[in-house]
């Protein structure tokens, strides 16, 4: 699975992009956030309040309850401040 990070999520994690092999029990967006949080201090800092993290799968916003696709690009970022 390709993961991409933006804004302070990217800064705290310390990378823009990475490819991960997800354990089988990671099925939903919420599962992914919980799993990532355990990968180190940067991840823990970025995902301290997972409920504020916005997630997109293949360029479309998804809810945290959404199932992850078998493959694709999952993006994690803070609430948007464009416009």
């Amino acid at each position: 699975m390709k993961l991409v990070y933006f804004a302070w999520v990217r800064e705290r994690i310390g990378r823009e992009i990475e490819t991960v092999a997800l354990p089988q029990e990671v099925e939903t967006v919420t599962d992914l956030l919980t799993w990532l949080k355990g990968r180190g201090d940067g991840y823990a800092a970025a995902l301290e309040y997972p409920e504020v993290i916005r997630v997109a799968v293949d360029h479309e916003h998804v809810e945290h309850e959404a199932k992850l696709p078998a493959d694709g690009e999952v993006a994690l970022f803070p609430p948007m401040t464009g416009g």
């Binding site: 933006f6 997109a56 916003h61 970022f77 803070p78 948007m80 401040t81 464009g82 416009g83």
Partner: protein
């Protein structure tokens, strides 16, 4: 009901030319009764902002603005719609975003521009970082709950 117009969406670093964008939607046309432009600009009343840095998610930014624009042309009888969002470092007084909505009737153009701005604020994948004058570390702008609430006005999208 007229055919739906095809919105034009651009995400780019360069500044835009408002007059040229209006012209694109009106030149040679006799069916456009109203044109509304909304320009969002980088603002700094305190004098302490050196620049605003706009990060975006390439690919998704265009796709998401495209979805919002498509929704607008379904909801309102527009004859033309253009949305341009800049990214990169912008100084106070510079343009950030432009919406141009053209229609036969004024209410459609005004409401569509209002709708677009509400959705761009809270749904388009852009993030603003303020770089203070003096060279200290930049600070990410926090999303406003009022922006999120503003979406409630438009029902389900």
């Amino acid at each position: 009901m007229a055919e739906r117009c095809q919105p034009l969406v651009r995400v780019e670093a360069e500044d835009f030319d408002i007059a040229a964008e209006i012209d694109r939607l009106t030149a040679g046309r006799k069916d456009v009764g109203a044109v509304v432009t909304f320009t969002g600009r980088c603002r700094d009343e305190s004098g302490r902002l050196a620049a605003l840095e706009l990060e975006h998610y390439p690919g998704m930014a265009e796709a998401e603005i495209g979805r919002i624009a498509d929704e607008a042309v379904e909801r309102w009888p527009l004859t033309g719609l253009t949305v341009i969002h800049r990214f990169g470092k912008l100084r106070p007084g510079e343009n950030i975003v432009l919406v141009v909505a053209a229609s036969t009737h004024r209410k459609a153009a005004l409401e569509a521009a209002d709708f677009l701005m509400d959705y761009l604020k809270s749904r388009a994948p852009f993030w603003k970082k303020e770089h203070p004058a003096g060279g200290e570390e930049g600070r990410w702008v926090e999303a406003k709950t009022e922006d999120e609430k503003a979406l409630g006005r438009w029902g389900k999208v």
